[in-house]
């Protein structure tokens, strides 16, 4: 199923006003509002946030990618434990993955010690967590579709052949 054009627009820029969206898609603002409200209600749209450059917006903050191996449980598999981990504020993303580990947990903290404390005191002390491997982020090249190439963005000529 192709992505709805309204949803596609919102995914590239959520800050369009309802009137702008309506104009771009030849809809009425009321139709736009109605569809967005329905998506917010059924969970298609989970939320809106600015995608920021962490070096400029959150200087000093650190992120880590943590590979977690779990013991699956009867009935629920990995779900219960994964949700328990995902609920922590420090966890930015949490995915079940195929391959050599079970969960990929993206954790954010204000410094290395903050992340290390979360891993040693919260994550690895849970029954069912067999092992963790923490990889700190060193540099970001692309985030949510946005490239981090401030210098390279060249101006287009105003008139070109």
């Amino acid at each position: 199923m192709p992505t709805d054009p309204l949803l596609q627009l919102l995914r590239s820029k959520a800050r369009h006003t309802d009137a702008e969206l309506a104009e771009l898609l030849s809809l009425s603002p009321a139709q736009v509002q109605e569809r967005i409200a329905a998506w917010e209600k059924d969970g298609t749209i989970l939320g809106y946030q600015a995608v920021t450059d962490p070096e400029l917006a959150e200087a000093g903050n650190v992120s880590a990618f943590i590979e977690v191996k779990l013991t699956p449980e009867r009935g629920g598999g990995f779900d219960r434990l994964a949700m328990r981990i995902a609920r922590f504020d420090q966890v930015a993303s949490c995915y079940l993955a195929s391959g050599g580990y079970d969960l990929m947990v993206v954790v954010e903290g204000k410094d290395l010690r903050d992340v290390a404390r979360f891993v040693s005191e919260k994550l690895s002390t849970l029954d069912g967590v067999l092992s963790t491997a923490t990889h700190f982020r060193l540099k970001t090249y692309k985030e949510k579709g946005f490239l981090f190439d401030h210098e390279a963005r060249s101006e287009r000529l105003a008139v070109a052949p």
Binding site: R84, R87, D89
Partner: protein
């Protein structure tokens, strides 16, 4: 059987809570927007809930020391030292209780001989007067007014003091008015307490929820007051932990010892899983608490602005999560106003008279409710006031 002769007279004489009457009116109605709930609209932050789950998983299901886990009392002592600037010895001057409500009951029972007077400022939380009566004390209310921002003025307190006065109960920020006391008022009150040898019972449950960047000051931190003050605090409001039922009292050792005597026979100890959750709240809960406070602050500003626009004059409360608009301009009693507002617009707010005589003419609106609901509730209230 004639049960009226079986119920103790001092209990039978306690009137039903005005909040309960109103609650029954609201119940059974569909689609009500409620500004009547006196608790945070946030769920307890996950890391705190998780700490409780973890403690259960690890089999921590036993009694604790009557005073509470020493690790928690140490954390309380550190927190109170930092936040209120008063130091208490964790081993002997801190008692962990089942909510501040239990602590109030313990303190009053530990201090009062039958017939002795307890002064409290009104409008106030619904339990104060009944708690005093159940401890065989005599409840003496001092009315506060909108013109004073519902703070307790020392001159009014002075007029209520008699040779039988033993205890003064304070609650700033106040439920239901959101009132705070100025440093000057607190100093005046402290002076009177020393002069008349009163013990102060200060319910500080809303103390983290102070707005406009003002630092909260407790009477316990004023010179000469620690020795005559019982500082009561808990986790319900600041950390959104109402259901955990956890509070504490900090006071000089002989008073804590007396309160503990009652606590050990009536309650034994506070639940261990709640104590473990509270420990996590004190150690790691401040960032989440500050975020919640920020959110209340925005909502308070919105409510005060809208109520004044509607024509219901409303002072700007310095704390808690209540606004207390003046509805006297409508000519209705607070009960009539609340009942008719509910019937006409399905918006519930508690009549001020539920919090004492001096609450008559006012309405308690709790803004710990989703912002969108507050907006709709204010529009509905505006429409209702327009029909009067």
């Amino acid at each position: 059987m004639d049960y009226s002769s079986k119920i103790a007279r001092h209990v039978a004489g306690i009137p039903r809570s005005g909040i309960r009457d109103f609650f029954e009116l609201v119940q059974g109605r569909e689609g009500v927007i409620s500004l009547g709930v006196g608790e945070p609209d946030f769920v307890t932050p996950w890391h705190i809930r998780e700490a409780a789950i973890y403690s259960l998983e690890k089999g921590q299901t036993t009694y604790t020391s009557n005073l509470g886990l020493l690790s928690l009392r140490k954390a309380i002592s550190r927190y109170v030292g930092g936040f209120f600037d008063v130091s208490y010895d964790a081993a002997t001057e801190v008692l962990v209780t089942v909510g501040v409500s239990e602590a109030i009951d313990l303190a009053l029972r530990a201090l009062l001989n039958p017939g002795e007077e307890v002064i409290y400022h009104e409008p106030c939380y619904v339990s104060y007067s009944p708690s005093i009566v159940m401890a065989y004390g005599k409840a003496v209310s001092v009315e506060t007014c909108k013109e004073d921002g519902f703070s307790l003025k020392p001159e009014k307190l002075a007029a209520a003091i008699t040779p039988q006065s033993r205890v003064l109960m304070l609650n700033f920020p106040t439920n239901p008015t959101g009132a705070v006391a100025s440093q000057e008022d607190l100093e005046g009150i402290a002076k009177l307490c020393i002069e008349h040898d009163l013990i102060v019972l200060t319910d500080e449950i809303y103390s983290e929820l102070r707005y406009d960047g003002v630092k909260h000051v407790s009477i316990a931190s004023l010179p000469g007051m620690k020795e005559r003050t019982i500082l009561l605090h808990g986790f319900s409001k600041a950390f959104a932990m109402t259901g955990f039922r956890l509070g504490y009292a900090c006071a000089p050792q002989p008073i804590i010892e007396a309160m503990m005597k009652i606590h050990q026979y009536s309650m034994l100890c506070a639940p261990i899983m709640s104590q473990n959750a509270a420990l996590e709240a004190l150690e790691n809960g401040t960032p989440a608490m500050l975020e919640m406070r920020e959110s209340y602050h925005h909502r308070r500003d919105f409510m005060v602005k809208r109520l004044n626009e509607i024509g219901l004059s409303c002072h700007t409360p310095g704390g808690a999560f209540y606004v207390f608009p003046d509805i006297r301009s409508t000519g209705l009693s607070s009960k009539e106003f609340a009942t008719r507002l509910l019937e006409a617009e399905n918006v519930a707010a508690v009549p001020g008279s539920a919090f004492g005589h001096s609450g008559e003419g006012f309405l308690r609106c709790c803004y710990a409710t989703a912002f969108d609901d507050l907006r709709v509730a204010m529009d509905k209230m505006e429409r209702f006031v327009g029909t009067l």
